[in-house]
Symmetry: C2
Subunit: 250 residues, 2 copies
C-alpha cells in the first residue's frame, strides 16, 4: 500500500470562510468508502478541552456533508490502539510544539508511522500538516513547550511551512517569513527543502503522485519551494506536480 496524505495549510482559507469549506472535495475523495475518522486534538491551543475540539471538528465535517463518524482519540483508553484500529486519522491545528511533544510523550509517532506507511489515509491541518514533514523547525508557532526533538513524522522528505502570507505585514520590523525560511537554510545541517503553503493550499499524496490543490487562480502561486543555497524560491500553482520531491535524498 502507498501513503495517502491530504495536508491542509489551514482549516479555512481566510478568517471569514467557514471551516474546511475549501477542502470539501479532497476530503470526500480521500475518505471515500470509509465509515470512521479518528481525530487527534493534541495541538489544542490553550484552555480548549480535547473533547470540545473534537466536537467542533465533528460539527464542521458534518456541515460540509462528510458522512464519516468523527471519533476523538481522547475517548479511547489506549490511544495507540485507537490508531492501530483507525480507518483514517485527522490531526488538527493549534500549537505545533505542543502537538509534537504530546505525541512523543504518548509514544504515538511510531504507531502513526506504521499505519500511514501501510496506506491508512492521514489528514492534517496546519500543525497536523507541519508534523507530516521531516521536522518542525519551520513552524510559525510559538515554542510554548520544549519537545524532546523537533523531528516529526517524516511522511514527506521535506519541511512544510503552513499559513504562508500572501503579502508581508509592514506592521513590525522583524524578519519576513521568507527571511525566516532562508535563515533556516543558512545553517549547513538544514538541507531539506521547505514547501511554503498559502492558507487556501493543500498537498495531496496519492498513487505516488504529490500535487498541490487549492483555490488560487491558475496564474497565482499556491506554494513556494525554498531550497538551501538557492536565492529565489520557486512558485507552484494549483495543480502543480511536486512528485519529484518524493525521491529527494538529503
Amino acid at each position: 500500500m502507498q501513503r495517502q496524505l491530504l495536508l491542509l495549510s489551514s482549516s479555512r482559507p481566510n478568517r471569514q470562510a467557514s471551516y474546511f469549506s475549501h477542502a470539501q472535495g479532497p476530503l470526500n475523495d480521500i475518505l471515500k468508502g470509509l465509515k470512521r475518522l479518528l481525530f487527534i486534538p493534541y495541538a489544542a491551543p490553550g484552555g480548549m478541552a480535547y473533547a470540545d475540539y473534537t466536537t467542533s471538528i465533528r460539527e464542521a465535517f458534518a456541515a460540509i456533508g462528510l458522512p464519516q463518524q468523527v471519533e476523538g482519540i481522547e475517548a479511547y483508553k489506549s490511544p495507540a490502539l485507537a490508531i492501530r484500529e483507525a480507518e483514517a486519522v485527522f490531526i488538527g491545528g493549534g500549537n505545533t510544539f505542543l502537538l509534537l511533544k504530546t505525541l512523543y510523550e504518548m509514544d504515538l509517532l511510531e504507531p502513526l508511522r506504521r499505519r500511514v506507511l501501510d496506506g491508512m489515509p492521514y489528514i492534517g491541518s496546519s500543525a497536523g500538516s507541519n508534523i507530516a514533514g521531516l521536522t518542525i523547525n519551520t513552524s510559525n508557532d510559538m515554542a510554548i513547550v520544549h519537545p524532546p526533538s523537533l523531528n516529526a513524522l517524516g511522511f514527506l522528505p521535506f519541511n512544510i511551512n503552513p499559513h504562508y502570507p500572501l503579502k508581508e505585514s509592514e506592521l513590525h520590523s522583524g524578519e519576513s517569513r521568507a527571511e525566516r525560511i532562508r535563515e533556516f537554510h543558512a545553517l549547513p545541517q538544514n538541507r531539506q527543502p521547505v514547501l511554503a503553503l498559502y492558507e487556501s493550499s493543500m498537498l495531496l499524496l496519492k498513487d505516488n503522485q504529490l500535487n498541490l490543490l487549492g483555490s488560487s487562480s491558475s496564474d497565482e502561486p499556491a506554494a513556494w519551494l525554498f531550497r538551501q543555497g538557492e536565492e529565489e524560491a520557486v512558485p507552484y500553482g494549483v495543480g502543480g506536480d511536486l512528485s519529484g520531491l518524493l525521491a529527494e535524498t538529503l
Copy 2:
C-alpha cells in the same frame, strides 16, 4: 553590586529608522565611564559571519556617538575569558533559538550570569533581550535549531516578548500575538508573567528599579503585561515602573 540591564525590544523602532537611534540616551547612560563593550553575535541570522555582524554594530554605535570600543567575542581565543574580563556585554538580535543553543554549547550561560549578578552592565536587543528573561518559550522566532533547553539567563523573573505589534496583521488567519501569549499561559506549568514590548520600547534595570523607556507618547502603551489566569493584559506607558515584578516568585 546590583544587576544593570538595558533591554531593547528591537535595534530600531521601525524599518526606516537608523539602528539604535532610539536608544542613544540610555546606551550612553549605562555605558558611562566604560572604555570597552564586548559584543556577542551568536544570534547572527543565517549566512552572516560573526565578524561582519560585529563590524556593523561597531559602526552603528559609532554613528550614534558612543565612545566605547566595540570588540566581538569571536576575536577571542576563550569566549569565557572574554566575558570574565568584559566591562559590559551587548548581545544583538537575530534568531533566539540559535543564540541560546550556541550559548549552551559554548558553556557561556554561567559566566554571563556570574558577571551580570556581579554588576556588569548587560545590554540586549531582540534575541539578546529575550534571553535575559526566564525562558525563550515566548520568542517570535522560528525554531531553526533545537536548543537543549529553552531556559534562558533568568536575569528577570518573567518572560519577554519583543517586537510586539502595534496592530495585528490581517494578512493571515493564524493566531494573533496576544492569542499566542495566552496559549503559553494556558499551560499550567507556564506561570511566569510575559512582558510584551513594542518595537521602540526598552526595559532598564538599575538601582533595583525596573522602568520602561521608549518613544511612544505618554498616552500610548509601551508594553503589555500578560499574566496567567488574567484575561486582559495590563498596559504600561513610557516611564512605567515595573519594579514590583522583580519580587515575584512563581
